[in-house]
Symmetry: C2
Subunit: 313 residues, 2 copies
Protein backbone atom coordinates (compact mmCIF):
# COMPACT_ATOMS: atom_id res chain seq x y z
CA UNK A 1 0.00 0.00 0.00
CA UNK A 2 1.45 3.34 -1.06
CA UNK A 3 0.74 6.92 -0.01
CA UNK A 4 -1.63 8.53 -2.48
CA UNK A 5 0.19 11.84 -2.17
CA UNK A 6 3.87 10.86 -2.46
CA UNK A 7 4.01 7.14 -3.31
CA UNK A 8 6.07 6.26 -0.21
CA UNK A 9 4.94 3.26 1.90
CA UNK A 10 1.62 4.04 3.63
CA UNK A 11 1.17 3.71 7.39
CA UNK A 12 -2.63 3.77 7.27
CA UNK A 13 -5.38 2.73 4.89
CA UNK A 14 -8.55 4.74 5.32
CA UNK A 15 -10.99 2.32 3.73
CA UNK A 16 -13.96 4.64 4.08
CA UNK A 17 -12.14 7.31 2.04
CA UNK A 18 -10.31 4.82 -0.24
CA UNK A 19 -7.18 6.64 0.84
CA UNK A 20 -3.78 5.34 1.96
CA UNK A 21 -1.22 7.76 3.43
CA UNK A 22 2.38 7.78 4.66
CA UNK A 23 3.28 9.13 8.09
CA UNK A 24 4.03 12.66 6.92
CA UNK A 25 0.92 13.05 4.81
CA UNK A 26 -1.36 11.43 7.37
CA UNK A 27 -0.05 13.89 9.99
CA UNK A 28 -1.00 16.70 7.57
CA UNK A 29 -4.30 15.18 6.48
CA UNK A 30 -5.93 14.67 9.88
CA UNK A 31 -5.49 18.27 11.12
CA UNK A 32 -6.74 19.51 7.71
CA UNK A 33 -9.88 17.39 8.07
CA UNK A 34 -10.33 18.68 11.60
CA UNK A 35 -9.84 22.27 10.48
CA UNK A 36 -12.47 21.87 7.78
CA UNK A 37 -14.97 20.61 10.30
CA UNK A 38 -14.12 23.41 12.77
CA UNK A 39 -14.74 25.88 9.96
CA UNK A 40 -17.89 24.21 8.64
CA UNK A 41 -19.53 24.20 12.07
CA UNK A 42 -18.09 27.61 13.01
CA UNK A 43 -16.71 26.16 16.21
CA UNK A 44 -14.12 28.84 16.98
CA UNK A 45 -11.52 31.09 15.37
CA UNK A 46 -7.88 32.01 16.05
CA UNK A 47 -9.19 34.76 18.37
CA UNK A 48 -10.88 32.33 20.75
CA UNK A 49 -9.41 31.11 24.02
CA UNK A 50 -10.03 27.36 23.99
CA UNK A 51 -10.02 25.02 26.98
CA UNK A 52 -9.41 21.41 25.94
CA UNK A 53 -10.59 18.72 28.34
CA UNK A 54 -7.75 16.16 28.37
CA UNK A 55 -8.03 12.71 29.90
CA UNK A 56 -4.54 11.45 28.99
CA UNK A 57 -6.05 9.29 26.23
CA UNK A 58 -5.39 9.35 22.50
CA UNK A 59 -8.48 11.35 21.51
CA UNK A 60 -8.03 14.40 23.71
CA UNK A 61 -4.22 14.54 23.39
CA UNK A 62 -4.40 14.22 19.60
CA UNK A 63 -7.04 16.93 19.57
CA UNK A 64 -4.90 19.25 21.70
CA UNK A 65 -1.89 18.54 19.51
CA UNK A 66 -3.81 19.30 16.31
CA UNK A 67 -5.32 22.50 17.69
CA UNK A 68 -1.90 23.88 18.63
CA UNK A 69 -0.43 22.75 15.28
CA UNK A 70 -3.27 24.61 13.59
CA UNK A 71 -2.29 27.76 15.51
CA UNK A 72 -5.16 27.91 17.98
CA UNK A 73 -4.76 29.22 21.50
CA UNK A 74 -5.64 26.10 23.50
CA UNK A 75 -4.97 25.36 27.16
CA UNK A 76 -5.69 22.00 28.78
CA UNK A 77 -7.77 20.84 31.73
CA UNK A 78 -7.06 17.55 33.46
CA UNK A 79 -9.59 16.34 36.04
CA UNK A 80 -8.21 13.89 38.63
CA UNK A 81 -11.00 11.36 39.22
CA UNK A 82 -9.20 8.98 41.58
CA UNK A 83 -9.85 5.89 39.44
CA UNK A 84 -7.71 2.81 40.09
CA UNK A 85 -7.01 0.18 37.44
CA UNK A 86 -6.15 -3.48 37.79
CA UNK A 87 -2.64 -3.33 39.30
CA UNK A 88 -1.94 0.32 38.47
CA UNK A 89 -3.22 3.77 39.36
CA UNK A 90 -5.24 4.65 36.27
CA UNK A 91 -5.83 8.29 37.19
CA UNK A 92 -2.24 8.95 38.35
CA UNK A 93 -0.87 7.48 35.11
CA UNK A 94 -3.33 9.51 33.01
CA UNK A 95 -2.34 12.69 34.84
CA UNK A 96 1.37 11.97 34.40
CA UNK A 97 0.91 11.58 30.64
CA UNK A 98 -1.23 14.71 30.32
CA UNK A 99 1.34 16.71 32.29
CA UNK A 100 4.22 15.26 30.28
CA UNK A 101 2.45 16.20 27.03
CA UNK A 102 1.92 19.79 28.21
CA UNK A 103 5.47 20.15 29.59
CA UNK A 104 7.09 18.85 26.37
CA UNK A 105 5.21 21.47 24.35
CA UNK A 106 5.24 24.32 26.86
CA UNK A 107 1.44 24.33 27.07
CA UNK A 108 -0.65 25.39 30.02
CA UNK A 109 -2.53 22.61 31.84
CA UNK A 110 -5.08 23.20 34.60
CA UNK A 111 -5.40 20.30 37.03
CA UNK A 112 -8.45 19.86 39.24
CA UNK A 113 -8.31 16.89 41.57
CA UNK A 114 -11.84 15.94 42.65
CA UNK A 115 -10.84 14.47 46.03
CA UNK A 116 -8.40 17.27 46.94
CA UNK A 117 -10.85 19.97 45.87
CA UNK A 118 -14.20 18.55 46.94
CA UNK A 119 -13.46 15.68 49.33
CA UNK A 120 -14.00 12.31 47.62
CA UNK A 121 -12.86 10.36 44.55
CA UNK A 122 -15.38 9.38 41.87
CA UNK A 123 -15.58 5.72 42.99
CA UNK A 124 -16.10 6.89 46.59
CA UNK A 125 -18.78 9.33 45.44
CA UNK A 126 -20.61 6.60 43.54
CA UNK A 127 -20.77 4.39 46.63
CA UNK A 128 -21.82 7.20 48.98
CA UNK A 129 -24.43 8.69 46.67
CA UNK A 130 -26.00 5.37 45.55
CA UNK A 131 -26.27 6.95 42.13
CA UNK A 132 -25.94 4.74 39.01
CA UNK A 133 -26.09 1.40 40.86
CA UNK A 134 -22.65 -0.26 40.80
CA UNK A 135 -21.27 2.02 38.09
CA UNK A 136 -19.60 5.36 38.88
CA UNK A 137 -20.04 6.50 35.25
CA UNK A 138 -23.15 8.59 35.82
CA UNK A 139 -21.62 10.44 38.80
CA UNK A 140 -18.39 10.84 36.86
CA UNK A 141 -20.19 12.46 33.93
CA UNK A 142 -21.97 14.89 36.21
CA UNK A 143 -18.78 15.88 38.07
CA UNK A 144 -16.73 16.27 34.87
CA UNK A 145 -19.39 18.40 33.16
CA UNK A 146 -19.52 20.64 36.21
CA UNK A 147 -15.77 21.09 36.60
CA UNK A 148 -15.18 21.57 32.86
CA UNK A 149 -17.85 24.23 32.64
CA UNK A 150 -16.77 26.02 35.80
CA UNK A 151 -13.08 26.01 34.86
CA UNK A 152 -13.90 27.35 31.39
CA UNK A 153 -16.18 30.04 32.79
CA UNK A 154 -13.94 31.17 35.62
CA UNK A 155 -10.82 31.08 33.43
CA UNK A 156 -12.41 33.34 30.84
CA UNK A 157 -12.28 30.72 28.07
CA UNK A 158 -14.66 31.33 25.20
CA UNK A 159 -15.03 27.72 24.25
CA UNK A 160 -14.67 24.26 25.80
CA UNK A 161 -13.45 21.49 23.49
CA UNK A 162 -13.77 17.76 24.17
CA UNK A 163 -12.18 14.81 22.35
CA UNK A 164 -15.39 12.93 21.48
CA UNK A 165 -14.64 10.96 18.33
CA UNK A 166 -16.84 9.48 15.60
CA UNK A 167 -17.09 6.13 17.37
CA UNK A 168 -18.33 7.87 20.51
CA UNK A 169 -20.89 9.92 18.63
CA UNK A 170 -22.15 7.04 16.51
CA UNK A 171 -22.60 4.90 19.64
CA UNK A 172 -24.53 7.66 21.39
CA UNK A 173 -26.63 8.19 18.28
CA UNK A 174 -27.48 4.49 18.14
CA UNK A 175 -28.38 4.55 21.82
CA UNK A 176 -30.59 7.62 21.29
CA UNK A 177 -32.42 6.04 18.37
CA UNK A 178 -32.99 2.71 20.11
CA UNK A 179 -35.17 4.53 22.61
CA UNK A 180 -36.05 7.49 20.35
CA UNK A 181 -35.14 10.01 23.02
CA UNK A 182 -36.31 13.13 21.24
CA UNK A 183 -34.55 15.60 23.50
CA UNK A 184 -31.21 13.81 23.29
CA UNK A 185 -31.44 13.45 19.52
CA UNK A 186 -32.16 17.11 19.06
CA UNK A 187 -29.31 18.16 21.38
CA UNK A 188 -26.69 15.77 19.96
CA UNK A 189 -24.54 18.19 17.98
CA UNK A 190 -20.90 19.15 17.28
CA UNK A 191 -21.55 22.57 18.85
CA UNK A 192 -23.67 23.47 21.88
CA UNK A 193 -23.99 27.25 22.13
CA UNK A 194 -23.09 29.17 25.28
CA UNK A 195 -25.84 30.45 27.52
CA UNK A 196 -25.89 33.79 29.26
CA UNK A 197 -26.03 32.28 32.71
CA UNK A 198 -22.51 30.85 32.62
CA UNK A 199 -22.81 27.80 30.42
CA UNK A 200 -19.71 27.64 28.23
CA UNK A 201 -19.89 27.03 24.50
CA UNK A 202 -19.05 23.35 23.92
CA UNK A 203 -17.51 21.91 20.78
CA UNK A 204 -16.36 18.50 19.56
CA UNK A 205 -13.77 19.21 16.85
CA UNK A 206 -12.89 15.53 16.21
CA UNK A 207 -16.41 14.11 16.28
CA UNK A 208 -16.16 13.11 12.62
CA UNK A 209 -12.75 11.43 13.03
CA UNK A 210 -12.62 7.66 13.58
CA UNK A 211 -11.14 6.45 16.86
CA UNK A 212 -8.53 4.41 14.98
CA UNK A 213 -7.44 7.51 13.08
CA UNK A 214 -6.88 9.38 16.33
CA UNK A 215 -4.93 6.41 17.72
CA UNK A 216 -2.84 6.33 14.54
CA UNK A 217 -2.25 10.08 14.81
CA UNK A 218 -1.06 9.76 18.43
CA UNK A 219 1.27 6.90 17.55
CA UNK A 220 2.62 8.56 14.41
CA UNK A 221 3.32 11.83 16.17
CA UNK A 222 4.92 10.16 19.18
CA UNK A 223 2.27 11.13 21.72
CA UNK A 224 2.45 8.87 24.77
CA UNK A 225 -1.10 8.14 26.01
CA UNK A 226 -3.00 5.78 28.30
CA UNK A 227 -3.88 2.71 26.20
CA UNK A 228 -6.49 1.23 28.50
CA UNK A 229 -10.14 2.19 28.57
CA UNK A 230 -11.26 3.47 31.95
CA UNK A 231 -11.66 0.28 34.05
CA UNK A 232 -15.24 1.29 34.88
CA UNK A 233 -16.18 1.49 31.20
CA UNK A 234 -15.59 -2.24 30.70
CA UNK A 235 -18.92 -3.90 29.97
CA UNK A 236 -20.68 -0.56 29.51
CA UNK A 237 -23.54 0.02 27.10
CA UNK A 238 -21.47 2.42 25.06
CA UNK A 239 -18.76 -0.18 24.43
CA UNK A 240 -21.48 -2.65 23.41
CA UNK A 241 -22.89 -0.22 20.84
CA UNK A 242 -19.36 0.46 19.60
CA UNK A 243 -18.81 -3.28 19.08
CA UNK A 244 -21.99 -3.56 17.05
CA UNK A 245 -21.10 -0.52 14.94
CA UNK A 246 -17.57 -1.85 14.38
CA UNK A 247 -19.05 -5.08 13.12
CA UNK A 248 -21.24 -3.10 10.71
CA UNK A 249 -18.33 -0.87 9.66
CA UNK A 250 -16.23 -3.96 8.96
CA UNK A 251 -18.76 -5.07 6.37
CA UNK A 252 -19.48 -1.55 5.05
CA UNK A 253 -16.48 0.75 5.33
CA UNK A 254 -17.71 4.29 5.93
CA UNK A 255 -20.99 3.26 7.55
CA UNK A 256 -20.30 5.05 10.84
CA UNK A 257 -19.27 8.23 9.06
CA UNK A 258 -22.34 8.17 6.84
CA UNK A 259 -24.56 7.39 9.82
CA UNK A 260 -23.34 10.41 11.78
CA UNK A 261 -22.94 12.91 8.95
CA UNK A 262 -26.33 12.10 7.42
CA UNK A 263 -27.85 12.62 10.86
CA UNK A 264 -26.25 16.08 11.13
CA UNK A 265 -27.37 16.88 7.59
CA UNK A 266 -30.94 15.76 8.25
CA UNK A 267 -31.01 17.94 11.35
CA UNK A 268 -29.68 20.93 9.41
CA UNK A 269 -32.36 20.23 6.79
CA UNK A 270 -35.03 20.56 9.47
CA UNK A 271 -35.99 16.92 10.03
CA UNK A 272 -36.86 17.52 13.66
CA UNK A 273 -39.68 19.75 14.83
CA UNK A 274 -38.55 23.07 16.29
CA UNK A 275 -40.34 22.80 19.63
CA UNK A 276 -38.29 19.77 20.58
CA UNK A 277 -35.15 21.84 20.16
CA UNK A 278 -36.11 24.41 22.77
CA UNK A 279 -33.39 24.70 25.38
CA UNK A 280 -34.24 24.22 29.04
CA UNK A 281 -34.57 27.42 31.02
CA UNK A 282 -31.51 27.96 33.22
CA UNK A 283 -31.22 29.17 36.81
CA UNK A 284 -28.18 30.01 38.95
CA UNK A 285 -27.49 27.40 41.66
CA UNK A 286 -28.28 28.92 45.08
CA UNK A 287 -25.01 27.65 46.47
CA UNK A 288 -22.32 27.77 43.78
CA UNK A 289 -23.93 30.10 41.25
CA UNK A 290 -23.33 27.70 38.37
CA UNK A 291 -26.14 27.21 35.82
CA UNK A 292 -28.74 24.53 36.51
CA UNK A 293 -32.03 23.53 34.87
CA UNK A 294 -34.11 23.48 38.09
CA UNK A 295 -34.36 26.26 40.68
CA UNK A 296 -32.55 25.65 44.01
CA UNK A 297 -29.31 23.67 44.21
CA UNK A 298 -27.61 22.29 41.11
CA UNK A 299 -27.15 18.52 40.91
CA UNK A 300 -23.42 18.85 41.67
CA UNK A 301 -24.11 20.68 44.97
CA UNK A 302 -26.91 18.24 45.82
CA UNK A 303 -24.48 15.38 45.27
CA UNK A 304 -21.95 16.81 47.73
CA UNK A 305 -24.74 17.57 50.21
CA UNK A 306 -25.62 13.89 50.18
CA UNK A 307 -21.97 13.03 50.79
CA UNK A 308 -21.86 15.39 53.79
CA UNK A 309 -25.11 14.01 55.22
CA UNK A 310 -23.96 10.45 54.78
CA UNK A 311 -20.65 11.18 56.56
CA UNK A 312 -22.40 12.96 59.44
CA UNK A 313 -24.92 10.15 59.89
CA UNK B 1 -41.84 -23.49 31.92
CA UNK B 2 -45.57 -23.25 32.67
CA UNK B 3 -48.38 -21.21 31.11
CA UNK B 4 -48.99 -18.11 33.16
CA UNK B 5 -52.74 -18.35 32.57
CA UNK B 6 -53.48 -22.03 33.29
CA UNK B 7 -50.28 -23.63 34.62
CA UNK B 8 -50.13 -26.24 31.84
CA UNK B 9 -46.78 -26.76 30.03
CA UNK B 10 -45.90 -23.69 27.95
CA UNK B 11 -45.10 -23.90 24.23
CA UNK B 12 -43.52 -20.46 24.03
CA UNK B 13 -41.58 -18.14 26.31
CA UNK B 14 -41.97 -14.48 25.36
CA UNK B 15 -38.86 -13.14 27.06
CA UNK B 16 -39.63 -9.53 26.16
CA UNK B 17 -42.97 -9.76 27.99
CA UNK B 18 -41.71 -12.16 30.72
CA UNK B 19 -44.63 -14.34 29.67
CA UNK B 20 -44.85 -18.10 29.00
CA UNK B 21 -48.02 -19.53 27.44
CA UNK B 22 -49.50 -22.91 26.52
CA UNK B 23 -50.82 -23.59 23.02
CA UNK B 24 -54.42 -22.61 23.80
CA UNK B 25 -53.59 -19.38 25.56
CA UNK B 26 -50.93 -18.37 23.06
CA UNK B 27 -53.51 -18.83 20.27
CA UNK B 28 -55.79 -16.48 22.22
CA UNK B 29 -53.09 -14.03 23.23
CA UNK B 30 -51.64 -13.22 19.79
CA UNK B 31 -54.96 -12.24 18.16
CA UNK B 32 -55.80 -10.17 21.27
CA UNK B 33 -52.51 -8.28 20.93
CA UNK B 34 -53.18 -7.79 17.24
CA UNK B 35 -56.72 -6.56 17.92
CA UNK B 36 -55.42 -4.03 20.45
CA UNK B 37 -53.00 -2.65 17.91
CA UNK B 38 -55.68 -2.54 15.18
CA UNK B 39 -57.86 -0.59 17.59
CA UNK B 40 -55.09 1.71 18.85
CA UNK B 41 -54.11 2.73 15.33
CA UNK B 42 -57.73 2.78 14.08
CA UNK B 43 -56.76 0.51 11.21
CA UNK B 44 -60.22 -0.76 10.33
CA UNK B 45 -63.50 -1.94 11.85
CA UNK B 46 -65.85 -4.90 11.34
CA UNK B 47 -67.57 -2.85 8.60
CA UNK B 48 -64.45 -2.67 6.43
CA UNK B 49 -63.75 -4.91 3.47
CA UNK B 50 -60.12 -5.95 3.91
CA UNK B 51 -57.79 -7.33 1.26
CA UNK B 52 -54.89 -9.27 2.79
CA UNK B 53 -51.77 -9.67 0.67
CA UNK B 54 -50.71 -13.30 1.18
CA UNK B 55 -47.39 -14.72 0.09
CA UNK B 56 -47.84 -18.25 1.43
CA UNK B 57 -45.46 -17.46 4.30
CA UNK B 58 -46.10 -17.56 8.05
CA UNK B 59 -46.63 -13.81 8.52
CA UNK B 60 -49.38 -13.21 6.01
CA UNK B 61 -51.19 -16.52 6.59
CA UNK B 62 -51.13 -16.02 10.37
CA UNK B 63 -52.42 -12.49 9.84
CA UNK B 64 -55.24 -13.69 7.61
CA UNK B 65 -56.09 -16.42 10.12
CA UNK B 66 -56.18 -13.97 13.02
CA UNK B 67 -58.31 -11.43 11.14
CA UNK B 68 -60.94 -14.04 10.31
CA UNK B 69 -60.83 -15.41 13.88
CA UNK B 70 -61.41 -11.85 15.09
CA UNK B 71 -64.51 -11.66 12.88
CA UNK B 72 -63.20 -9.32 10.18
CA UNK B 73 -64.28 -9.56 6.56
CA UNK B 74 -60.93 -10.36 4.91
CA UNK B 75 -60.27 -11.74 1.44
CA UNK B 76 -56.80 -12.72 0.22
CA UNK B 77 -54.63 -11.74 -2.71
CA UNK B 78 -51.85 -13.99 -3.96
CA UNK B 79 -49.46 -12.57 -6.56
CA UNK B 80 -47.66 -15.16 -8.70
CA UNK B 81 -44.14 -13.81 -9.18
CA UNK B 82 -42.59 -16.74 -11.05
CA UNK B 83 -39.71 -17.18 -8.61
CA UNK B 84 -37.83 -20.50 -8.68
CA UNK B 85 -35.98 -21.88 -5.66
CA UNK B 86 -33.05 -24.25 -5.49
CA UNK B 87 -34.59 -27.52 -6.70
CA UNK B 88 -38.22 -26.50 -6.31
CA UNK B 89 -40.70 -24.01 -7.74
CA UNK B 90 -40.87 -21.42 -4.96
CA UNK B 91 -43.80 -19.49 -6.37
CA UNK B 92 -45.84 -22.56 -7.29
CA UNK B 93 -45.39 -24.01 -3.81
CA UNK B 94 -46.31 -20.67 -2.20
CA UNK B 95 -49.43 -20.44 -4.32
CA UNK B 96 -50.43 -24.03 -3.51
CA UNK B 97 -50.19 -23.30 0.23
CA UNK B 98 -52.09 -20.00 -0.02
CA UNK B 99 -54.86 -21.72 -2.03
CA UNK B 100 -54.96 -24.66 0.37
CA UNK B 101 -55.30 -22.25 3.33
CA UNK B 102 -58.19 -20.42 1.66
CA UNK B 103 -59.94 -23.62 0.54
CA UNK B 104 -59.74 -25.22 4.01
CA UNK B 105 -61.45 -22.18 5.53
CA UNK B 106 -63.83 -21.31 2.69
CA UNK B 107 -62.14 -17.91 2.18
CA UNK B 108 -61.94 -15.97 -1.05
CA UNK B 109 -58.49 -15.67 -2.63
CA UNK B 110 -57.69 -13.49 -5.64
CA UNK B 111 -54.76 -14.76 -7.69
CA UNK B 112 -52.85 -12.49 -10.07
CA UNK B 113 -50.08 -14.18 -12.00
CA UNK B 114 -47.61 -11.57 -13.22
CA UNK B 115 -46.46 -13.50 -16.31
CA UNK B 116 -49.94 -14.63 -17.35
CA UNK B 117 -51.40 -11.14 -16.84
CA UNK B 118 -48.58 -8.88 -17.98
CA UNK B 119 -46.14 -11.07 -19.90
CA UNK B 120 -43.01 -11.80 -17.84
CA UNK B 121 -41.99 -13.25 -14.49
CA UNK B 122 -40.24 -11.07 -11.91
CA UNK B 123 -36.79 -12.58 -12.57
CA UNK B 124 -37.32 -12.07 -16.31
CA UNK B 125 -38.44 -8.49 -15.69
CA UNK B 126 -35.34 -7.77 -13.62
CA UNK B 127 -33.04 -8.95 -16.40
CA UNK B 128 -34.93 -7.14 -19.17
CA UNK B 129 -35.31 -3.85 -17.29
CA UNK B 130 -31.74 -3.71 -15.90
CA UNK B 131 -33.29 -2.36 -12.73
CA UNK B 132 -31.72 -3.19 -9.33
CA UNK B 133 -28.51 -4.70 -10.76
CA UNK B 134 -28.51 -8.47 -10.20
CA UNK B 135 -31.37 -8.40 -7.70
CA UNK B 136 -35.03 -8.59 -8.77
CA UNK B 137 -36.14 -7.23 -5.35
CA UNK B 138 -36.63 -3.64 -6.45
CA UNK B 139 -38.72 -4.62 -9.51
CA UNK B 140 -40.64 -7.10 -7.36
CA UNK B 141 -41.53 -4.41 -4.83
CA UNK B 142 -42.75 -2.09 -7.56
CA UNK B 143 -44.89 -4.78 -9.24
CA UNK B 144 -46.37 -6.03 -5.97
CA UNK B 145 -47.28 -2.53 -4.76
CA UNK B 146 -48.99 -1.85 -8.07
CA UNK B 147 -50.99 -5.08 -8.21
CA UNK B 148 -51.97 -4.91 -4.54
CA UNK B 149 -53.22 -1.38 -4.87
CA UNK B 150 -55.03 -1.99 -8.14
CA UNK B 151 -56.72 -5.17 -6.90
CA UNK B 152 -57.84 -3.42 -3.71
CA UNK B 153 -59.15 -0.43 -5.62
CA UNK B 154 -60.93 -2.34 -8.39
CA UNK B 155 -62.36 -4.87 -5.95
CA UNK B 156 -63.89 -2.17 -3.80
CA UNK B 157 -61.82 -3.04 -0.73
CA UNK B 158 -61.56 -0.26 1.85
CA UNK B 159 -58.24 -1.35 3.22
CA UNK B 160 -55.17 -3.33 2.16
CA UNK B 161 -53.39 -5.31 4.90
CA UNK B 162 -49.86 -6.69 4.67
CA UNK B 163 -48.05 -9.12 6.95
CA UNK B 164 -45.04 -6.94 7.80
CA UNK B 165 -43.85 -8.06 11.22
CA UNK B 166 -41.78 -6.36 13.92
CA UNK B 167 -38.52 -7.78 12.59
CA UNK B 168 -39.29 -6.33 9.15
CA UNK B 169 -40.17 -2.92 10.54
CA UNK B 170 -37.20 -2.75 12.91
CA UNK B 171 -34.83 -3.65 10.05
CA UNK B 172 -36.33 -0.97 7.82
CA UNK B 173 -36.13 1.52 10.65
CA UNK B 174 -32.46 0.74 11.20
CA UNK B 175 -31.83 1.09 7.47
CA UNK B 176 -33.66 4.44 7.42
CA UNK B 177 -31.67 5.79 10.37
CA UNK B 178 -28.30 4.66 9.02
CA UNK B 179 -28.80 7.07 6.15
CA UNK B 180 -31.25 9.39 7.93
CA UNK B 181 -33.70 9.31 5.04
CA UNK B 182 -36.13 11.92 6.32
CA UNK B 183 -38.93 11.10 3.91
CA UNK B 184 -38.79 7.37 4.62
CA UNK B 185 -38.66 7.91 8.37
CA UNK B 186 -41.68 10.16 8.30
CA UNK B 187 -43.66 7.75 6.10
CA UNK B 188 -42.78 4.57 8.02
CA UNK B 189 -46.06 3.93 9.84
CA UNK B 190 -48.57 1.17 10.71
CA UNK B 191 -51.22 3.01 8.68
CA UNK B 192 -50.87 4.90 5.41
CA UNK B 193 -54.10 6.75 4.64
CA UNK B 194 -55.96 6.35 1.36
CA UNK B 195 -55.75 9.08 -1.23
CA UNK B 196 -58.60 10.30 -3.40
CA UNK B 197 -56.87 9.36 -6.62
CA UNK B 198 -57.15 5.61 -6.05
CA UNK B 199 -54.42 4.87 -3.53
CA UNK B 200 -55.81 2.30 -1.11
CA UNK B 201 -55.49 2.69 2.66
CA UNK B 202 -52.59 0.45 3.77
CA UNK B 203 -52.23 -1.14 7.19
CA UNK B 204 -49.76 -3.47 8.91
CA UNK B 205 -51.74 -5.14 11.71
CA UNK B 206 -48.88 -7.40 12.87
CA UNK B 207 -46.07 -4.87 12.70
CA UNK B 208 -45.55 -5.04 16.46
CA UNK B 209 -45.51 -8.88 16.54
CA UNK B 210 -42.14 -10.66 16.48
CA UNK B 211 -41.45 -12.91 13.51
CA UNK B 212 -40.90 -15.87 15.83
CA UNK B 213 -44.31 -15.31 17.42
CA UNK B 214 -45.98 -15.43 14.01
CA UNK B 215 -44.06 -18.61 13.17
CA UNK B 216 -45.15 -20.12 16.50
CA UNK B 217 -48.73 -19.08 15.80
CA UNK B 218 -48.68 -20.74 12.37
CA UNK B 219 -47.19 -23.93 13.80
CA UNK B 220 -49.53 -24.05 16.80
CA UNK B 221 -52.62 -23.51 14.68
CA UNK B 222 -51.59 -26.05 12.05
CA UNK B 223 -51.09 -23.57 9.21
CA UNK B 224 -48.90 -25.07 6.50
CA UNK B 225 -46.60 -22.37 5.08
CA UNK B 226 -43.46 -21.94 2.96
CA UNK B 227 -40.50 -22.20 5.35
CA UNK B 228 -37.86 -20.77 3.06
CA UNK B 229 -37.12 -17.11 2.57
CA UNK B 230 -37.51 -15.97 -1.02
CA UNK B 231 -34.31 -17.24 -2.72
CA UNK B 232 -33.60 -13.72 -3.96
CA UNK B 233 -33.66 -12.32 -0.42
CA UNK B 234 -30.61 -14.38 0.59
CA UNK B 235 -27.74 -11.99 1.26
CA UNK B 236 -29.99 -8.93 1.16
CA UNK B 237 -29.47 -5.81 3.25
CA UNK B 238 -32.68 -6.40 5.11
CA UNK B 239 -31.57 -9.85 6.29
CA UNK B 240 -28.26 -8.34 7.38
CA UNK B 241 -30.03 -5.71 9.49
CA UNK B 242 -32.27 -8.44 10.91
CA UNK B 243 -29.19 -10.44 11.95
CA UNK B 244 -27.73 -7.45 13.74
CA UNK B 245 -31.00 -6.70 15.50
CA UNK B 246 -31.38 -10.35 16.50
CA UNK B 247 -27.95 -10.23 18.04
CA UNK B 248 -28.98 -7.14 20.00
CA UNK B 249 -32.33 -8.67 20.99
CA UNK B 250 -30.51 -11.77 22.23
CA UNK B 251 -28.64 -9.64 24.74
CA UNK B 252 -31.59 -7.34 25.53
CA UNK B 253 -34.94 -9.09 25.18
CA UNK B 254 -37.53 -6.55 24.06
CA UNK B 255 -35.03 -4.26 22.33
CA UNK B 256 -36.68 -4.53 18.90
CA UNK B 257 -40.12 -3.88 20.34
CA UNK B 258 -38.91 -0.87 22.30
CA UNK B 259 -37.01 0.40 19.27
CA UNK B 260 -40.08 0.34 17.05
CA UNK B 261 -42.72 1.41 19.56
CA UNK B 262 -40.66 4.30 20.91
CA UNK B 263 -40.18 5.44 17.31
CA UNK B 264 -43.95 5.44 16.74
CA UNK B 265 -44.48 7.23 20.06
CA UNK B 266 -41.85 9.87 19.26
CA UNK B 267 -43.54 10.46 15.91
CA UNK B 268 -46.95 10.78 17.55
CA UNK B 269 -45.37 13.23 20.01
CA UNK B 270 -44.30 15.41 17.10
CA UNK B 271 -40.56 14.67 16.93
CA UNK B 272 -40.42 15.24 13.20
CA UNK B 273 -41.11 18.54 11.52
CA UNK B 274 -44.46 18.76 9.75
CA UNK B 275 -43.17 19.84 6.35
CA UNK B 276 -41.26 16.58 5.96
CA UNK B 277 -44.53 14.70 6.36
CA UNK B 278 -46.20 16.35 3.37
CA UNK B 279 -47.44 13.72 0.97
CA UNK B 280 -46.34 13.79 -2.64
CA UNK B 281 -48.92 15.18 -5.04
CA UNK B 282 -50.57 12.38 -7.02
CA UNK B 283 -51.50 12.17 -10.69
CA UNK B 284 -53.40 9.54 -12.67
CA UNK B 285 -51.16 7.48 -14.97
CA UNK B 286 -51.90 8.38 -18.60
CA UNK B 287 -52.07 4.74 -19.55
CA UNK B 288 -53.57 2.71 -16.71
CA UNK B 289 -55.15 5.47 -14.61
CA UNK B 290 -53.48 4.27 -11.41
CA UNK B 291 -52.02 6.90 -9.06
CA UNK B 292 -48.42 8.00 -9.60
CA UNK B 293 -46.25 10.74 -8.12
CA UNK B 294 -45.04 12.17 -11.46
CA UNK B 295 -47.22 13.24 -14.42
CA UNK B 296 -47.18 10.94 -17.47
CA UNK B 297 -46.80 7.18 -17.16
CA UNK B 298 -46.55 5.46 -13.77
CA UNK B 299 -43.39 3.48 -13.07
CA UNK B 300 -45.25 0.19 -13.58
CA UNK B 301 -46.34 1.15 -17.10
CA UNK B 302 -42.85 2.51 -17.86
CA UNK B 303 -41.38 -0.81 -16.76
CA UNK B 304 -43.59 -2.78 -19.18
CA UNK B 305 -42.88 -0.28 -21.95
CA UNK B 306 -39.18 -1.05 -21.53
CA UNK B 307 -39.97 -4.77 -21.74
CA UNK B 308 -41.89 -4.24 -24.97
CA UNK B 309 -39.13 -2.10 -26.49
CA UNK B 310 -36.46 -4.59 -25.51
CA UNK B 311 -38.42 -7.46 -27.11
CA UNK B 312 -39.04 -5.51 -30.29
CA UNK B 313 -35.38 -4.50 -30.60
Amino acid sequence: MKCRTCGQPAIINLRQHKLALCRTHFLDWLPEQTQRFIHHYRMFTLDDRILVAVSGGKDSLSLWDMLTRLGYHADGLYIGLGVLGDGFDYSAESQRLAEQFAAQRGLKLHVVDVKATYGATIPELAVISHRGQDKPCSVCGLVKRYIMNRTAYEGGYTVLATGHNLDDEAAVLMQNTLTWSGGYLVRQAPVLPASGLGLARKVKPVCRIYERELAAYALASGIEYVYDECPHAVGSNTLWYKDILNQMEEKRPGLKLQYYLSFLQAKDDGLFAAQAAQADELHACEKCGQPTTAPGLCSFCRLWDRVRQSREA
